[in-house]
């Protein structure tokens, strides 16, 4: 049997191979990750990636897979490729049998009566669910500091943010607490955490993965996607969760391409890769820019043709996003009113009417960032401002789509840094919402246009030794190209580093609390 310390560092694809070969059991694998969570997640200086750990159910599913495999025959052969490989789920995605909080006090202790479609698919593939991961409240933020349950820490430097909103999923994977995780991406919430934690994150084409059961922030932008340590692992997970779902009216009817095959192609020879002029240079940290240029050189050496494209309307993307997203969020979050689920707070004085109960419930249940966005959205949608704000922002969306169309006429995929900076310090931007928003400047255009994007580790910035993310973008429905180019770049970079980037991450000591408990 492999040492557990080695086991947790294996990719999901490698774990799946070892499980199939009978070299290790799913119970051993699942227990190894649960032990890791117990060792590094809790306590004062813990990663705090998990809001809930699903020990019993995860081990039961693992045991079931082991039993099927041990019995052999048709049932064993029919097991999904990733059967027995554990996974963590962002706590914005509803699950039967575990609490779902969305990182908010308003849903504290709430249990969903149904499973999200992606969760049903994980269950059908018999992947043990390790637990639910931390996030900015209702996925609103770029640092996980807006979680009502305390921030997640970046495994590379525990005093820094793990990105957001899906900082929990990214940190869990970076800290070897899970081989895979699910995230959601509205403006970069999968890709930016991937960038700052040295992991892989993918926002699929809008509609290619069902949103049913993902608590909605901005319905026309939200997308569930995979989080992993390798490009191939994300492709494999994407294949588990993707494909049409009649429960989501925006779900694409298209059959899913063979994404893992694309990741295994191993060539970018003759492909045209477009640098987006507006998404690098000024405003981007020097170390980010250096790693970005290094990736371009590697792709060029591998036979890709690098071209420059211009997307002049991207400069309006952030502004338009901060009108569309809050508008949709203000409408989506109206359902948290203390009537059908979640918190109910009664006003301390005065008449007890439902309106006043709603006001008191939402005042107590929502955090500052959520309130800010609801107010901003209500403003943008209000009479007299609708055309100037929401209407104009929707027009900008058309301009961004046109920019992408023109760019993809010149290039097969586009490339940029995922985020303008490496991980900032916890607390650094908490009181400056606008500075926080700027961290998503490179990721937002993909959501506005519905195109897929992937972030993979591009190395460490010279000035601070922290991970830099490289973003690839492809036309809608061409997610396979991201995996093809991403896997090639990953392998070129790993050759250069002599192994995965995460092998260079500092060893997590684990909290004294858990060590004492042991």
């Amino acid at each position: 049997m492999t040492d557990t310390n080695e086991l947790i560092r294996l990719s999901a694809a490698r774990l799946a191979e070892k499980l199939r070969a009978g070299e290790v059991t799913s119970v051993q694998v699942t227990q190894a990750f649960l032990d890791r969570i117990a060792a590094v997640d809790g306590g004062e200086r813990g990663v705090n990636a998990f809001l809930h750990v699903n020990t019993e159910e995860a081990l039961a599913v693992a045991a079931e897979v082991d039993a099927i495999r041990a019995a052999g025959g048709a049932a064993a052969e029919e097991l999904h490729e990733l059967a027995g490989v554990p996974i963590a789920v962002k706590d914005l995605i509803v699950t039967i049998g575990q609490p779902t909080t969305a990182g908010s006090k308003i849903l504290e202790g709430w249990h969903s009566p149904y499973d999200a479609t992606v969760v049903k698919r994980l269950r059908a593939a018999k992947m043990p669910i390790l637990g639910k991961t931390n996030l900015d409240e209702f996925a609103m933020g770029s640092s996980t500091e807006h979680s009502a349950y305390g921030p997640t820490r970046n495994p590379w430097d525990l005093d820094r943010i793990p990105g957001g909103s899906g900082g929990g999923s990214a940190a869990a994977v970076a800290a070897f607490e899970a081989p895979l995780a699910l995230g959601t991406d509205t403006g970069g919430s999968i890709r930016q955490p991937g960038a700052v934690t040295g992991t892989v994150g993918v926002k699929p084409t809008y509609g290619s993965v069902s949103r049913y059961g993902a608590i909605a922030m901005a319905s026309s932008l939200d997308q569930i996607g995979p989080v992993s340590r390798t490009v191939l692992d994300s492709a494999l997970l994407h294949q588990v969760i993707g494909g049409h779902d009649p429960f989501d009216s925006t779900s694409l009817p298209d059959p899913l391409a063979d994404l893992a095959a694309a990741a295994r192609l191993g060539s970018v020879d003759g492909m045209k890769i477009g640098i987006i002029k507006e998404l690098h240079g000024e405003g981007y940290q020097a170390g980010v820019e250096n790693r970005f240029n290094e990736s371009l050189d590697l792709l060029k050496e591998a036979g890709a043709e690098i071209v420059e494209v211009s997307c002049p309307n991207f400069k309006y993307a952030l502004g338009a996003y901060y009108l569309i997203m809050p508008s949709e969020a203000s409408s989506n979050l109206a359902k948290f009113d203390g009537v059908r689920y979640g918190l109910r707070v009664l006003p301390e004085e005065g008449p007890l009417t439902i309106e006043r109960v709603m006001g008191a419930t939402r005042a107590a249940g929502f955090g500052d960032e959520v309130k800010r966005r609801i107010i901003l959205g209500t403003y943008a949608l209000s009479a007299g401002y609708y055309d100037a704000y929401y209407g104009s922002a929707q027009k900008v969306r058309t301009l961004i789509q046109r920019d992408f169309e023109a760019a993809f006429a010149q290039a097969d995929v586009l490339i940029s840094p995922t985020a303008p900076t490496t991980a900032f310090k916890l607390g650094e931007k908490l009181n400056d919402p606008l500075a926080m928003y700027l961290n998503d400047v490179a990721t937002i255009p993909a959501n506005m246009a519905g195109v897929p994007g992937l972030s993979l580790p591009g190395g460490l910035a010279d000035e601070d030794g922290l991970p830099v993310g490289i973003q690839l973008l492809a036309p809608a429905r061409q997610d396979a190209r991201l995996y093809q180019v991403g896997a090639v770049l990953e392998s070129l970079l790993e050759n250069k580093w002599g192994g995965p980037l995460l092998a260079q991450a500092p060893e997590l000591a684990g909290s004294t609390e858990t060590q004492e408990a042991k």
Binding site: R362, I374, Y389, G450
Partner: protein, 98 residues
Amino acid sequence: MAAINRDDVAHLAQLAHIEMSAEELDRMAGELAVIVDSVKSVSEAAGDDVPATSHPIPLTNVFREDVVGHTLTAEQALSGAPDSDDNRFKVPAILDEA
């Protein structure tokens, strides 16, 4: 475009059913003014000839056969309710009795 002020925020908070203290209104008005100012340029970006996009991937309406499908039981639907009675959600008075 008009700037956002404290009175606007108070009105919007009321529309959005969020009670806010005086201190919160002051702070929120300041923060939102900065954000609103930063998104101003959006209204000048596109001319009248540019159509609006509400949805990233064009889709037509989706229909299904009108048959009873998966539904939650009353018990499941009420399982997370703060208060319920006789298979219904229970709430305080809908109208102000004053």
